[in-house]
Assembly symmetry: C2
Homo-oligomer: 215 residues x 2
């Protein structure tokens, strides 16, 4: 009998960063325990969760040997090294750098300025103001991303293989749709999302399919 523990993902169904890690875990076929943290109920700000993740963010990942990692890209790169089948980071150094670049255009330039914490500080509970800010932030960011993908993409974000970059693109398009971003100016982003969304690893990671989804 195996006594090996499953890794644990602390996730919120709607969190785009948690979504990315869910796709990677599915892609690799890694069995894991899902623990829901309700950001709307501030469950991330409890003493209990502080002990799990000192930065009090989701996602947090507990490896099967009980070590903590946070930050979606760091977790996915770790998974790619620890579970090398179905690689998400290419072998070629320049392509690997491009995959990180595309991922970080989203993770550093687009996603952070439209996440829940920032929207609360900017707009409080004013949903119209939240939507206007988030929509504009994503639109501005997608302009640069689309321009860059013109140079890096083939069938997918970087060349013709699925990589970590596609994970970041798809989870970000999820947010874009939620905030009503008109996608017709972004044909490459749209195409990548359409192709990847049909794959089971991506399809099963969407917010609606998570145990804590409150439909």
């Amino acid at each position: 009998m195996s006594t090996e523990k499953k890794p644990i993902l602390y996730s919120y169904f709607r969190s785009s960063a948690s979504w990315r890690v869910r796709i990677a875990l599915n892609w690799k076929g890694i069995d894991y325990e899902y623990k829901a943290i309700d950001l709307l109920k501030n469950e991330n700000n409890t003493e209990e969760y502080l002990k799990v993740n000192p930065t009090q963010k989701v996602p947090a990942f507990i490896t099967k040997d009980s070590k903590l990692l946070s930050q979606s890209e760091a977790i996915i790169e770790y998974l790619d090294e620890a579970y090398p089948d179905r690689p998400l980071i290419p072998g070629c150094p320049y392509k690997r750098a491009l995959v990180r670049e595309i991922s970080q255009i989203i993770a550093c330039d687009i996603h952070p300025i439209q996440n829940l914490g920032v929207l609360k500080r900017i707009a409080g509970d004013d949903m119209e103001k939240r939507t206007a800010w988030a929509n504009e932030s994503i639109r501005l960011g997608f302009k640069g991303l689309e321009n860059r993908l013109e140079h890096t993409s083939g069938a997918y974000s970087v060349g013709d293989s699925i990589t970590m970059a596609d994970i970041f693109v798809c989870a970000m398009v999820g947010n874009a749709k939620r905030w009503g971003v008109e996608m017709s100016s972004f044909p490459i982003i749209t195409k990548i999302n359409e192709v990847c969304s049909k794959l089971p690893a991506f399809a099963n990671a969407i917010p609606d399919k998570q145990p804590d989804c409150s439909k």
Copy 2:
């Protein structure tokens, strides 16, 4: 006679993300050409710069074989692979993940919401409002970062060797000081910054030492 070209860094002296890459280039002893892009004069929004970097951000790095990379962390990871002496990413997979995690806590959670583009959108030219927003953003982020460093740090951010994470910490402390963040609640961050700032690679990368610094 060598015909090898120098790599090029498109940088703005005050840009924290450019600053990170300057430290890494200095640390590795890589000779490079510095090209200044004045963000206050919107030099990043010209047609000419669009051809250099389709996302119109700094830093942009042109490798010695003329390939573009943007995003500071992607550039530094590329440099660490292309110039392996004086490594900035550790060999141990979990430590490597921690270095990425600490870097991304800064690059994804703290830095983006206080950068120039966001401050302009939130506060226009109102310097008091800019300062209040930037100060609060960094303070909130440093709380989580300090908590996490309690678990990961030794003499430096991750264990007892200098890594990419220290580069991100020092450039962020630079911004924190600029926006008047009271640092006494963050003793580990303060200590790492004090120790690293004295090293030539870090000391020569500060905004004041760059050719485009307008003192």
